[in-house]
């Protein structure tokens, strides 16, 4: 199919820089998610790839060929929008056949292609219907069919399921993933929903303020976030303010003391400690915490606990030993990421000791449920 290269892409709207010097490579057949909060530039980037916005600087190459000067109708891309995809004055057939007829395909071939693609998206019988006679999910499926029927080199999806209800959304994204694997089309998918991104993407680009914070596979993004923003944005994370106590060789976060990873860190330096809820372990030897609330999330319990000097932390625990609400417990940090000046250092994980750590007094703990276990 195709490979996509974005090279130093920039776009401003007035004074606001929507996308800044953005470079990205999307591999052949890959599903790449652009993930980020609203206003991070992900949709603008996608619209530049589709030709609906003109970049102020930079290049867009599909299989090495620059398409930046081409209007949307001459790019080998097909886009599925968030909503208002289908033309209300045409039947489903008319919608799907529109692009084929423009290409002057013979009638029989158009009909066959429309039938095939409708079968592919699981709606073989809706050809004669008008868009308003379909449900929201069906409409988006037809929109995907209309995009695929032109056999584009690149499929662009702009939050296509965000207007659907939660169950349907989960179902649809699995379907799209399946479809994308089947036909092996290179796909760029924009979403603000990290769960959506984590479940369907081969790789994810986390964007903030028009730049890529990190480009990585879902599991690596979860386990090894390279910036505090990614750490906080992907999955659930407790971010605790902390301070370096050089004399004692520790980093103090509330009642917790973590080993100082680098003796060169200046005394009293402010750092952030990021701890996944599954890396906070209930242990009577740990720091004192007051259980505020216990929520049953199905396979596990989520506990909100007050820790003096830190505030409320969130931890996951199994259902075997449910802590009572209002009780005092001890909480230990099994693994944490220290962010100093925006860069992470891992502490507490004994199975892969980072080179910068001299001693690790924190007891080894089996890694809790990570991404795969959730």
């Amino acid at each position: 199919m195709a490979r996509l290269d974005l090279v130093g892409l920039s776009k401003r709207f007035g004074l606001h820089a929507a996308v800044r010097d953005f470079t990205l490579e999307v591999r052949n057949g890959e599903l790449m998610c652009l993930l980020g909060p609203s206003g991070c530039g992900k949709t603008t980037t996608l619209r530049m790839i589709g030709g609906f916005e003109t970049p102020d600087a930079g290049d867009i190459r599909i299989d090495g060929r620059s398409v930046v000067a081409l209007p949307p109708e001459r790019r080998p891309t097909a886009m599925v929008f968030q909503r208002y995809n289908l033309w209300p004055h045409m039947t489903v057939e008319g919608n799907i056949a529109f692009g084929l007829r423009l290409r002057r395909l013979p009638r029989a071939q158009v009909d066959a292609k429309v039938r095939d693609v409708l079968t592919l998206v699981g709606l073989p019988d809706v050809g004669r219907k008008y868009p308003h006679q379909l449900s929201g999910g069906q409409q988006q499926r037809v929109a995907v069919a209309r995009a695929l029927v032109l056999e584009p080199q690149l499929l662009l999806l702009d939050e296509p399921f965000s207007n659907l209800d939660a169950r349907l959304r989960v179902h649809m994204r699995e379907e799209v993933k399946q479809l994308q694997r089947e036909i092996g089309i290179t796909t760029v998918f924009v979403t603000h929903d990290q769960e959506e991104a984590l479940t369907i993407a081969d790789r994810i680009t986390v964007m903030r303020d028009g730049v890529a914070e990190q480009v990585d596979t879902p599991s690596r993004l979860y386990a090894n976030p390279q910036t505090l923003f990614v750490a906080d944005f992907i999955g659930t994370m407790n971010v605790l303010p902390a301070r370096v106590h050089r004399r004692d060789g520790v980093v103090a976060a509330g009642p917790w003391r973590l080993p100082l990873p680098d003796p060169a860190w200046p005394d009293e330096a402010e750092v952030s400690v990021a701890v996944r809820p599954e890396d906070l372990v209930i242990d009577s030897a740990g720091a004192a915490a007051h259980v505020r609330r216990v929520m049953n999330l199905g396979h596990y319990l989520q506990v909100l606990a007050d820790v003096p000097g830190v505030g409320v932390v969130r931890l996951f625990t199994d259902k075997e030993t449910p802590p009572g609400e209002g009780r005092e417990i001890g909480v230990r940090i099994a693994r944490a990421l220290l962010f100093k000046d925006g860069r992470p250092v891992e502490v507490g994980r004994t199975d892969s000791p980072p080179a910068t750590m001299s001693s690790t007094p924190a007891p080894a703990a089996p890694r809790g449920a990570g991404l795969d276990g959730r």
């Binding site: 968030q82 208002y84 033309w87 209300p88 004055h89 692009g99 423009l102 008008y130 308003h132």
Partner: protein, 275 residues
Amino acid sequence: MSGVLWPWAAAAFRRAAGAAALLALASFILGPLLTLLVWAFAGTWLFPNLLPEFSLRWWAFVLGNADVGKAIRMSLLSAPTATLISAVICIPAAYAFARLEFPAKRALLLSFLSANAFPKIGLYVSIATLLYRLDLMDTFTGVVLIQLVNTLLFMIWIPTGTFRGINRNLEEAARDAGAGPLRTFFQITLPIALPGIMVAGLFAFIAAFDEAQGTLIVGTPNHMTMPVLMYNLVLSYPQPVGAVFSILLSLPSLVLLLFAQRYLRAGYLAAGYSL
């Protein structure tokens, strides 16, 4: 007290008041029309009689009048021409107002309103002096031009709103599928905007068809439309003539209204707007 003792009386009073209000409204709206109908079919109408004797003789008189025939032809030619020309001018302009950014956009949009913001008679007189210079007085072109003044407003404002209401994604999806800007406009945008444009066309037609002041100045003596002739008929003939002519005058708009209503309600147009 009475409300507690006589709840049925209060309810009956409310019902009666409601019915009275409805009747008053109905007679206010329909009364003049009924009178018009009665007058249009009146023969002699002497004092004690509640209704006149039925007669079609004024119809025969009006329809047999050569001036009337000429005016009807003039109206049925000039008003559709003005509507069509204004559509050709205004629909692209409306699209530009809705979609493009250009300097002084707001001021330009408002300028279309300005023709209706001042007493028209002054405007017509100054246009008339211009047409006189251009040798367009008492010509078909002159009449159409003066009618255009009234149609522009509707043909700009309503389609601008309609185009604004069409989501850009619908057009972008067409571009994405391989259609150029022109094809996208004619095959996607225009069909979706058609109901709004129909309504605009209807209003524009009625505005052109009803125009009397300007046409009177520009068109006399040989290019009289129906509303202009109305002045003559009302001033020079008995009352039933005016009534008959009023009915003739309202027929085209009535037919168009019924047609538009049927068309606008039909099928996907009414339902297909929001997803």
